[in-house]
Assembly symmetry: C2
Homo-oligomer: 445 residues x 2
């Protein structure tokens, strides 16, 4: 029987293992780190994850959706906090639509366990140190014992993340396009503990945002009534990590720009100095495969910034799309790998761009009156014509539309809305019958 | 005395060595290959080089312009060959302006010798295998003897080309932006030997182009009356390298699309199967330095495609710009390196984009009537207003204007010309007084 191995037991690798195991083939997974289920999580580098429709769809195809939904907190909208402490709730979609806050570690552990239940063997402490791609040979080093071992497989899947070692081997091949692009911003994870009575200190059912133009703070709820908080801030400049080096500077900064949340962050200073300042990278590359031997998935082939909540979700969708193609092409791996990379690449490029755009929206536009007016108009058009005008956020987060199509339609919508918003008096009269009819004509043209 | 080392004795490294030596500092160069002056050149991977104003300016600053001009052949224009064998000469600029064909090997040898005359020691067969950038320590392996040696320097310049090992070390540092992007096209070097009487088989004073839309052949004259010929062709597709595998296929292809040159290429088949098919890459990255320890130059920091003849030239301009800044900042290397990368990066990004655009122009537009009409109109405007309207090609090739400014002005000119060329009857009436006055108003606005 042909042997498949997966390098990387993160979220995407573990889900892909479940998918492959359901096909009844031999699957082994090699993971660089120790088994996270037995060790304390390394804190401070894990942005809380939002899981939405595409991710749930991919879980559903292998029967795991219900189990995952037991461990999430629904977030039907954004709660915007201004500098005076005023809040404004903006629903993400229609009544009943929401994204879900989930613990990265909890979800990863569940998927590993499900993979094992399906018959997958996961080897831990196995760092990929060399590959002979033609031979399907991978050399691993056990970082705990120093032991070197070599594995031969028919097909190798690299799900080893943004700094993928498998991709590093693809990079040595001819004509491999590659880019890694860092944001000027970094992030630092902080926290809001539960209240004294054990409840949530902020509204539970929201993704909280403190948008401040060039930077922002966000908070996502956890099952234990705490929030995971993330500060996105430039490395250099006026308001920047480089200028926040002392307790006094950090407190003064929060006092000035996030005063309402400061009383809820009793561990701010401890968190600040304990947690690293991490960078944010977009990785694009092509091809994603070497012959029928090696294929990379998830962050390894398309790492994106976290601002659309689509990093893990797009990786899960990789598993889903691969599995659909595999129904037809399983016996011809070269065709399967090739069709997968061809069909998927435009969509992962699109979500990379969308994620970068959404950073501007989250940190800036959400507090802008024109943005809010546009949201209102779009909602009214969408209510009346639910199939013909779907706001971009909904196409990305609540639909299965290809990311590339969502991006293209989003750009069309931008230019239509730019025209409508330029009309004199639009903020006052958009609901007037004649004006709204004119808006409709333009939107449905 | 502080020690400077240069890794890579190619064109840019050798010129930079001359520049540094003229400052009276200790300079040593480490080169991976054997001394090219003692060995037969490895043929078939070296596109003939065109050297133009920026390159000559950089040579002039260290007194080498006259020597180099002795080894060039002036090319005042393009000679376009259509498929029926008709030719059309298009001057590159004004009377007296020309680019120069030069042998890469000959120029490189001259620069090495000049560096040595200035007191530089060049070590050959020294492949950089490891670096400790903080310590300024570089480990070299002599590929001939296997010997390993370690050198410590105060400042290290990486001029080791598009696949730079020095850059590979920079890539390991935090937040290093990097991209490598391959064209779908590759190239193969071919040749036209001298005629039986020892003369040139094609007109000597021109860069010959056989533009065929998706691909092209070019030829540059050599001092020995031969031409170096390069075919730029897609790797895959209908007219593509993948379909030219036999003698018969190659001959049929040339017979069909380049019939006029075939009789001048008696060694076509030998050249075809002896020479590799090489790929074309654009490399961009940032930063270009590590503290005041390491700085990369030329192709190592900005490899571009060859279609504007500005690859070597932009590297030479690096040396020139660095030296100008060094006049002020030599005693503060960190400030020098930083100002160099900051000031130079927008220009090397611009020439990378310009070089990609010029591929389209060379292989396609030069045979297009609208393109030719535009050239005529631009020439007329430029003749009347030589300071206010300079055609893009002239800004890039015959001026010292920053590449970034040339690109920006070129884009403005494109939109102005697109409007003018859209006027009804423009091909007939552009010289009419009223029409030309209208063109002038638009161009000088």
């Amino acid at each position: 029987m042909e042997k498949q191995i997966i390098i990387g037991a993160g979220l995407v690798g573990s889900l892909h293992a479940v998918y492959l195991a359901k096909r009844g083939v031999e699957v082994e997974v090699y993971e660089r780190r120790p088994d996270m289920r037995n060790t304390t999580m390394s804190a401070g580098r894990s942005i809380n994850l939002a899981i939405s429709h595409r991710g749930l769809k991919a879980l559903d195809r292998v029967g795991l959706k219900a189990k995952v939904l037991e461990m999430v907190i629904a977030m039907p909208g954004r709660m915007i906090h201004d500098v005076d402490g005023n809040t404004n709730f903006q629903p993400y979609g229609k009544e009943g639509q929401h994204i879900n806050s989930v613990s990265r570690g909890g979800l990863n552990a569940l998927l590993m366990t499900e993979a094992e239940k399906a018959g997958v063997k996961i080897h831990f402490n196995q760092r990929c140190v060399a590959m002979n791609m033609d031979a399907g040979e991978v050399t691993f080093k056990n970082d705990a014992t120093g032991q070197i071992s070599t594995v031969v497989a028919d097909h190798i899947y690299g799900t080893d993340g943004a700094f993928s070692e498998v991709r590093h081997n693809l990079m040595m091949t001819e004509r491999f396009d590659y880019s890694q692009t860092y944001l000027k911003h970094g992030y630092k994870e902080l926290s809001i503990p539960p209240a004294a009575d054990g409840g949530f200190r902020l509204a539970k059912g929201a993704l909280h945002i403190w948008p401040r133009g060039g930077y922002m703070l966000i908070a996502l709820p956890n099952l234990d009534s705490s929030f995971t908080v993330t500060l996105f801030l430039s490395f250099e400049g006026k308001h920047a990590f480089e200028n926040l080096n002392t307790e006094k500077e950090v407190l003064a900064f929060f006092q000035e720009v996030f005063p309402d949340v400061l009383p809820h962050m009793p561990t701010l200073i401890d968190d600040w100095f304990a947690n690293p300042t991490s960078s944010l990278v977009t990785v694009k590359c092509f091809p994603w495969r070497y012959k029928d031997k090696v294929l990379i998935f998830g962050d390894a082939s398309h790492a994106i910034v976290p601002f659309y909540g689509q990093g893990m979700v797009s990786g899960f969708e990789d598993c889903y799309v691969f599995d659909q193609l595999a129904d037809e092409l399983w016996d011809d791996k070269e065709a399967l790998f090739q069709q997968f990379e061809q069909s998927r690449k435009p969509d992962t490029d699109a979500i990379a761009d969308l994620a970068l755009r959404n950073f501007i929206e989250m940190r800036d536009s959400v507090a802008d009156p024109t943005f809010l007016l546009r949201k209102k108009i779009e909602k009214a058009i969408n209510t009346k014509h639910p199939q013909k005008w779907i706001p971009l956020y909904s196409m990305v987060v609540f639909s299965e539309m290809r990311y590339s199509e969502a991006l293209a339609r989003g750009k069309q919508q931008d230019s239509i809305m730019a025209e409508i918003l330029s009309w004199e008096g639009i903020e006052e009269n958009w609901e007037d019958e004649a004006v709204f009819a004119r808006i409709e004509r333009l939107c449905l043209a």
